[in-house]
């Protein structure tokens, strides 16, 4: 027995401590008993009525989503009030009766508001989320709201909720970069719940609405409300915590509404294609358009009226939901000739006044003729004249002399073949092949790089680019600025804090010698002069530089391209226009660019 190891307790201190513990425990129990007294005796009647009527529920105060505005404050996306009819499943007494009653409700046109199949589906969902309001009919008209509200006592569990809907006042204007909202997919919901999303919420699923979702989305408020037997709101339940709603941040874009509108008007809806206008001094996107367009308001309509339009959009073979300005890839055609020119001059492959074999409309390479777009030929041309009239034969010879490596290297320097990193969820990178990448890509088909590819490459037919890359590229030719990352975000204000415009981000330094730049200047300018291919984009008293292009399209008629930048010595705007299946760039694409430029310069 190791009793010696046990310390004998000191009787006195033990009893004193026991008394201290007695008192502590008794005090704790007293506090709890007092609380019980408060809620059971003092507030018993109140809680009793709450428990009997069961007329209390959580109310979600929808926070309004931030606006989207252009750089001068013109509203591009806003919110409008709307009503929804929802069900709180735990208050439903009899599901079948409720369903029957709901099916009887008709709007003024005599149309049923609810369909049986849809109700069944919604009720199943509601049974799994019994404490959350589950939407049965969204964006209902005010007369339906009146009918439902009159019959609330016959519709236990049914509530009418105020909500806001996204609205795009300018309809299709800028729809591709603005994007649209959609309901959160059910499987994603649980992971989003902790970011204060509620079931049935909408979130950005395309364009800027998606890209800046966390910024423009506000935080919904929550409170608990008591209802009377008619389902009318009486008062807030004071015992419950309140979460105040917080508005989302307003988003200001680099877009200039005037320029965007001019572009939208200049580009006919019947044609497919894209327009991008950029400020080469910082990468601000002034206008961005893709055609055919869609109306993002369709996505915020009620489920019923949405289904039809949605089907049409998805099935449309011209793919209106595709933002061609950043995800459309096209051969650059003759607009690429300036890359060839830059590479040749900057690497001193040719002299300034070097003349090649005259153009007869054909150029024989090996045993194959490569044609010039002008069948009757251009005769002997120099470099500036070659760009001005876009003589293919001249560029074949220039390309062979420069070599594929230099051409591909300069193409990459101008930002081709890699994503620009624009702040939109999707972007294509395009492709610039050189000997090595070509052989790797087509290895499975057994194709091998031939010198003939170099000819195609030099006139822009072997590679693919996106309109945004084209705009960025043309803006960097004479500007003495690096290539900036194009972006739509200008600044943001709101409860989440002021977010200033981010600093310009350099994609590539443009390493061109002054002589090269001067040569490019003259060539771009010459294109716009009488006899050049881009005359239709001229602007009074502003020196505009440009280049037309025609991209061969194996699937159909050629695509028309036009790139322009102005004022040519210190550019503040650079434009790329692509019109699908429209033939020559000079006749179709250049006038569109011209209209945009004239609006931009107030001419």
């Amino acid at each position: 027995m190791a009793a010696g190891k046990f310390l004998q307790e000191n009787q006195f201190s033990r009893h004193a401590k026991r008394r201290a513990l007695f008192i502590t425990v008794a005090a704790l129990f007293f506090v709890i008993a007092s609380r019980l007294f408060y809620i059971q005796i003092l507030k018993g009647d109140y809680f009793y009525s709450l428990s009997m009527e069961n007329m209390m529920r959580q109310k979600i105060i929808q926070a309004s989503r931030g606006l989207i505005l252009d750089r001068n404050g013109v509203i591009l996306a806003r919110n409008r009030p709307a009503y929804a009819v929802s069900v709180l499943y735990h208050q439903v007494k009899d599901r079948q009766t409720l369903k029957r009653t709901l099916l009887q409700i008709r709007d003024q046109a005599g149309q049923r508001i609810f369909s049986e199949a849809d109700l069944n589906r919604r009720f199943r969902l509601a049974a799994a989320r019994r404490f959350e309001p589950i939407c049965l009919a969204d964006d209902v008209s005010i007369d339906v709201v009146t009918i439902v509200q009159e019959h609330l006592q016959d519709l236990p569990g049914i509530i009418v909720e105020n909500e806001t809907r996204r609205e795009y006042p300018n309809k299709t204007l800028g729809c591709h970069f603005l994007g649209y909202l959609g309901e959160i997919p059910e499987e994603q919901f649980d992971s989003l719940k902790r970011y204060h999303y509620h079931f049935g919420d909408r979130m950005g699923i395309f364009g800027l609405e998606k890209q800046y979702e966390s910024l423009v989305r506000g935080r919904d408020g929550e409170e608990y409300v008591m209802y009377d037997a008619y389902g009318r709101e009486i008062e807030r339940v004071k015992e419950m915590p309140v979460v105040h709603s917080e508005k989302g941040n307003d988003l200001y874009l680099t877009i200039d509404y005037r320029v965007q509108k001019a572009a939208e008007e200049a580009f006919p809806d019947s044609l497919s294609g894209a327009v991008v206008a950029i400020d080469p001094r910082n990468g601000d996107i002034l206008a961005m358009l893709s055609s055919p367009r869609f109306d993002p308001n369709w996505f915020t309509l009620s489920v019923k009226s949405r289904t039809a339009s949605w089907g049409k959009l998805v099935m449309d073979p011209s793919q209106p939901l595709n933002n061609r300005a950043v995800t459309g890839v096209y051969p650059p055609g003759s607009t690429f000739k300036l890359v060839t020119t830059s590479a040749a001059l900057n690497e001193h492959v040719v002299g300034l006044d070097e003349h090649f074999k005259g153009c007869t409309g054909k150029f024989w390479f090996g045993n194959r003729p490569y044609g010039c777009w002008k069948k009757q030929g251009h005769g002997t041309v120099g470099m500036i004249q070659g760009v001005k009239v876009s003589c293919d034969v001249y560029f074949y010879q220039l390309g062979i002399k420069t070599g594929i490596d230099y051409m591909a290297q300069y193409a990459r320097m101008f930002g081709f073949a890699s994503k620009t990193g624009i702040d939109l969820p999707q972007e294509a990178s395009g492709e610039v092949l050189d000997e090595e990448t070509y052989n790797r890509k087509f290895q499975s088909r057994g194709w091998v790089w031939t010198k003939g590819q170099e000819l195609n490459f030099s006139i822009g037919q072997g590679q693919t680019v996106t309109p945004i890359q084209l705009a960025n590229y043309v803006g960097s030719l004479t500007s003495r600025q690096p290539l900036y990352r194009p972006h739509l975000f200008h600044h943001s204000t709101g409860p989440k804090g002021e977010i200033a415009q981010p600093t310009r981000e350099v994609l590539h330094e443009i390493r061109l010698e002054d002589e090269t730049r001067q040569m490019l200047y003259s060539a771009l300018k010459a294109v716009m002069e009488p006899g050049g291919t881009g005359g239709l984009a001229r602007v009074d008293s502003i020196i505009v530089g440009g280049k037309t292009g025609t991209a061969q399209n194996p699937q159909g008629q050629d695509h028309a391209l036009f790139v322009a930048t102005a004022p040519l010595n210190t550019p503040t705007i650079a434009i790329a226009v692509v019109v699908e299946n429209a033939g020559h760039g000079g006749s179709v694409a250049a006038p569109i660019a011209g209209k945009i430029l004239r609006t931009y310069f107030n001419r």
């Binding site: 027995m1 009793a3 190891k5 046990f6 310390l7 004998q8 307790e9 033990r14 009893h15 401590k17 026991r18 201290a20 513990l21 007695f22 425990v25 008794a26 704790l28 129990f29 506090v31 709890i32 008993a33 609380r35 019980l36 007294f37 809620i39 059971q40 005796i41 507030k43 018993g44 009647d45 109140y46 809680f47 009793y48 709450l50 428990s51 009997m52 069961n54 209390m56 959580q58 735990h90 404490f131 719940k193 902790r194 970011y195 929550e222 608990y224 339940v237 015992e239 419950m240 915590p241 979460v243």
Partner: protein, 407 residues
């Protein structure tokens, strides 16, 4: 049999305990008898089975001689630690937390065993070594002893069970030699954490702490450590918290409480309050609860059993049960003050402290005075592991008088 038991076991304590258990079974039946799920409807059968097992545990802990407890205290402690590590390595996950080891049909929750093991080990250590705040080194071993299982449980994560450790450790240290002031100093960082939400209150607390510390404590390094700990918790933590992004905060909060659902939890507490409050003075009567019927409270038979009591038996019923709990606790304190065996007394104090913590936190939660935590109510809540461990603890404590005579 009863005469034999009477000799061995403190009858008042045993009677109170069985009384509470019977009330609990009635309440579990009341909370579940209308459920659509047959399994839920029959839960009170399970609880009855647990009571049989618990009675065996109660009897076994009562007849084991105190020498065995003392001798095996460290061994048992090491064994429970091993089980906790096992949970980390290959435990079963449910509702975002890994707390269980599955043995065939049984789901063992080692944190329940760890609570017992730690009480015994701590009691053995404190019974032979004096502790004092003046000599910090004397506190290192007991702290380490508690921190190891605590951290393993926090990792599960099960913060509320981990807090039980803080509660009984503080009380046992108090019994084992620290003064009230010293216990207050030790617990002050936790108080700081609670008060940190209100800068003014915290500052007031800090000033009081400063003066009491300088008044009662002579060891300068202790003063510095405690003050800087409080400062860190009260000032730097909230500042760091403010710097965090919303999603990071959410991540931490979800770690602290995996079942966290800001709106859902508030709703539960309110429904629980409505249920209790609507019982008024006399209650709606057994099986007459409306809140129960409408199944507003998904966990009414476990964590929110007290709201069933409040609704059906009113203020009178709640008071009666609280008085039963109080009587049981005071009886245990009384027993702990009687004998001269320091180890046994410390054990009983630790057991009583555990029960107090569970009772207070759980009832305070159901009446809306505390946030929702996952702590069940002893003897009343449904759940095998917790019931058996509670019964075993009381079995041990109620036989202390006989055990004292063994020396």
């Amino acid at each position: 049999m009863l005469a034999q038991m009477k000799h061995r076991i403190d009858l008042p304590a045993a009677f109170i305990m069985y009384g509470l258990i019977m009330i609990g079974i009635a309440l579990i039946y009341s909370a579940t008898h209308l459920d659509q799920d047959v399994f839920i409807r029959n839960l009170f059968h399970n609880q009855l089975a647990w009571v049989v097992l618990g009675t065996a545990a109660f009897y076994i802990t009562a007849i084991i001689p105190s020498r065995t407890y003392y001798d095996t205290a460290y061994l048992f402690y090491a064994f429970t630690l091993l089980l906790l590590v096992l949970v980390v390595v290959k435990g079963t996950t449910a509702m975002g937390a890994t707390r269980w080891i599955v043995l065939g049909p049984l789901r063992l929750q080692p944190s329940e065993l760890a609570k017992i093991g730690t009480v015994f080990a701590l009691a053995r250590y404190l019974s032979s070594k004096p502790v004092s705040l003046e000599k910090i080194s004397s506190l290192i071993v007991p702290f380490a002893m508690v921190m190891v299982p605590m951290l393993l449980i926090v990792k599960q994560p099960d913060l509320s069970t981990a807090l039980v450790f803080c509660a009984f450790t503080a009380v046992m240290l108090f019994w084992g030699g620290l003064s009230l002031a010293e216990v207050f100093f030790l617990l002050s960082p936790i108080l700081s954490l609670i008060l940190a939400f209100h800068l003014f209150l915290w500052a007031l607390f800090f000033i009081i702490l400063f003066f009491t510390l300088t008044r009662f404590c002579r060891n300068l390094s202790v003063i510095t450590i405690i003050l800087s700990l409080n400062f860190m918790v009260g000032i730097i933590l909230p500042m760091a918290w403010g710097k965090l992004h919303d999603y990071q905060k959410n991540r931490i909060l979800t770690f602290v409480d995996p079942q966290r659902d800001p709106s859902g939890a508030g709703y539960q507490v309110l429904q629980s309050q409505v249920a209790i409050g609507s019982g008024k003075f006399l209650g709606k009567g057994f099986l007459e609860g409306t809140q129960t019927r409408l199944s507003f409270l998904p966990e009414q038979h476990t964590d929110f059993i007290f709201s069933v009591l409040g609704e059906q038996f009113g203020f009178i019923g709640c008071l009666f049960v609280l008085l039963l709990f109080l009587a049981l606790i005071l009886r245990l304190f009384f027993l702990a003050g009687e004998g001269n065996n320091r180890f046994l007394n410390l054990c009983v104090i630790g057991v009583a402290a555990q029960l107090v913590f569970h009772i207070c936190v759980n009832t305070a939660m159901t009446v809306g005075m505390m946030p929702v935590t996952g702590l069940p109510l002893p003897f009343l809540s449904y759940g095998g592991n917790f019931l058996i461990s509670c019964m075993a603890l009381v079995g041990f404590a109620a036989s202390i008088r006989k055990k004292n005579q063994e020396y």
